[in-house]
């Protein structure tokens, strides 16, 4: 196997004498998907930031391969309203791209129609799609995705995860992902790192799911059989805002009595 893209060795970060996370060790190899899971405040984003070099570990090491091209989708991106910024300009934020290189990734996430819109006018889900497009457009060696589908509608989520898998296969890039979606994590990930202020366990999804720590952390949800996807819609919201109904027709909007189930969508993401 080739050299790892990222290597954390017993890494930990403390801020004002409080450990945000410690004792984290894992590798991300090219072509491999590593997912960080754990409850809120368990140090997932902190771990990702150490891996990216945004924070230097207070103990242990966080090593990156030289000349590593990273594509990063941060958990939050607050762009000051004083900054005039179109989606097109935002795509070229850290690297110059040709028109093709800008449009193609936006088409793949379904938001190419927003190309010349101001970034402040996007909804949360639209911004998330743009962020993923920008990260992919860099043709990265390593994609780091901090809850990449937050705010994205449930059908869009599956499409975006499929896209991430497709990109991994095309570029053979490593993927370091933070996700609350255990269903997907268990299905599509090569390695799971389970955090709760420290590294509880780490390994293949199957191995991790059998550990006591994992059962302790996620036991109830696992027992519930991950019923998140078991309900179905009779229509589908397309990224441009139109609606495709069960009979194949497409309309601009849908009404509550059309059979849509907002109340039942996943609420714990």
């Amino acid at each position: 196997m080739s050299h790892p893209l990222i290597k954390l060795e017993n890494a930990g970060l403390s801020v004002q004498n409080r450990w945000l996370v410690r004792g984290v060790s894992f590798l991300v190899n090219p072509g491999e998907i590593v997912t960080l899971i754990g409850p809120n405040g368990s140090g997932k984003s902190t771990t990702a930031k150490m891996a990216l070099g945004i924070s230097s570990p207070s103990e242990g090491k966080a090593l990156r391969a030289p000349d590593l091209q990273v594509g990063y989708v941060p958990q939050r991106l607050n762009i000051d309203w004083t900054l005039p910024l179109t989606v097109r300009r935002f795509m070229c934020l850290t690297q110059k791209l040709s028109s093709m290189e800008i449009v193609t990734p936006l088409e793949r996430t379904g938001v190419a129609h927003l190309l010349d819109h101001d970034i402040h006018s996007l909804s949360g889900g639209e911004l998330q799609r743009v962020l993923l497009s920008r990260a992919i457009a860099l043709k990265p060696d390593l994609l780091v995705l901090d809850e990449p589908v937050q705010g994205v509608d449930i059908n869009g989520e599956i499409e975006m995860y499929n896209l991430i898998l497709a990109i991994r296969n095309e570029l053979n890039c490593g993927v370091l992902m933070i996700s609350h979606d255990l269903h997907l994590v268990m299905a599509a990930t090569d390695q799971v790192v389970c955090l709760n202020g420290h590294m509880c366990c780490n390994g293949t999804p199957v191995a991790v799911a059998e550990t006591d720590e994992y059962k302790h952390l996620f036991g109830n949800r696992v027992a519930a059989g991950l019923a998140v996807y078991q309900h179905s819609h009779d229509h589908e919201h397309l990224p441009d805002g139109s609606v495709r109904h069960a009979d194949g027709s497409v309309t601009d909007h849908c009404h509550p009595d059309d059979g849509h189930h907002h109340g039942q969508e996943k609420s714990d993401a």
């Binding site: 930031k49 990216l52 070099g53 945004i54 091209q69 990273v70 594509g71 990063y72 941060p74 991106l77 762009i79 000051d80 004083t82 900054l83 005039p84 910024l85 179109t86 300009r89 935002f90 070229c92 934020l93 850290t94 690297q95 110059k96 010349d116 819109h117 101001d118 006018s121 860099l138 780091v144």
Partner: protein, 276 residues
């Protein structure tokens, strides 16, 4: 032509506006207006020290402003005092120390008003050379770091992760701001430099769809303010620096009116309309 004091004043003011516009955009985007203010007060200390040590005033201002900005950067990391308080301490202590030093130097006849509000009508050919030479260097530096600085402004985290080295470009930016203050202090005065940095940039916000157009618009607004301000100063015998700032302020309020929106539509009529 350069022998006419008014032509020299116009050229000097336009030179300052062209540098201050694009730099001012970053000051607005990064919410550094008070930081700019602090550096210009530190610049007064530079003037006092320059006179005391008998070295070139512009060089002394540049040195003191750069030192102050570096000290702030380091201090911020270690201090438990909030940033605005830190800026206030530095800003006012620099001003006070400068005035005390100047008071001790009884052998120097000194026009404090010129220092605070600028004296654009006394610009010499050497001043012009400093503005245009130094200004060209500053703009060259800004263009050189533009993309990385912009990325670091949008998101420090994205910039670090994707190899942008934001700490380095932030440092260069700070030095560029200190240089701008050094070369424009004589023209616009310590109390009004920040105005030249932020008012044209703020006026340009409503005219622009992208960072680059905002920077160019800010320079254009600054030039209009300088020309309008200096001519009205000549007409009504008002002080030149404040007249320029008043003109810039009027342009800012104009940018808030529907006229500006119509102007913007005119500029970008080939592009897709923005969503409300």
């Amino acid at each position: 032509m350069l022998d006419d004091f008014f032509v020299r004043a116009l050229l000097a003011g336009i030179g300052v506006a062209v540098i201050a516009g694009p730099l001012g955009c970053f000051i607005i985007w990064r919410r550094m207006a008070y930081f700019g203010d602090t550096l210009s007060h530190a610049a007064l200390l530079g003037v006092a020290l320059g006179l005391l040590l008998e070295i070139n005033i512009t060089l002394a201002i540049f040195t003191v402003a750069t030192t102050a900005s570096l000290a702030l950067t380091v201090w911020q990391r270690k201090s438990t005092v909030p940033q605005d308080a830190l800026l206030g301490i530095l800003s006012h202590s620099a001003l006070a120390i400068a005035l005390v030093i100047l008071a001790f130097m009884t052998w120097i006849r000194f026009d404090i008003t010129a220092l605070l509000f600028g004296d654009v009508l006394s610009v010499t050919k050497l001043d012009l050379a400093i503005i245009y030479g130094g200004g060209a260097l500053i703009l060259f530096g800004l263009v050189y770091i533009w993309n990385r600085l912009f990325a670091a402004t949008v998101s420090y985290d994205l910039s670090v992760s994707e190899g942008g080295d934001p700490d380095k470009v932030n440092l260069i930016f700070t030095i560029l701001v200190a240089s701008t203050i050094a070369i424009s202090l004589k023209i616009i005065g310590a109390l009004l430099i920040t105005a030249m940095l932020i008012i044209p940039a703020a006026a340009a916000r409503r005219l622009a769809r992208g960072p680059e157009t905002m920077a160019l618009s800010a320079a254009a607004v600054g030039i209009i303010a300088v020309v309008a301000g200096l001519f009205s100063s000549l007409q009504w015998d008002t002080p030149s620096g404040p007249s320029i700032v008043v003109a810039a302020t009027l342009l800012f309020f104009l940018s808030l009116t529907p006229i500006a929106a119509r102007f913007k539509t005119f500029l970008f009529r080939n592009n897709i309309e923005e969503r409300p």
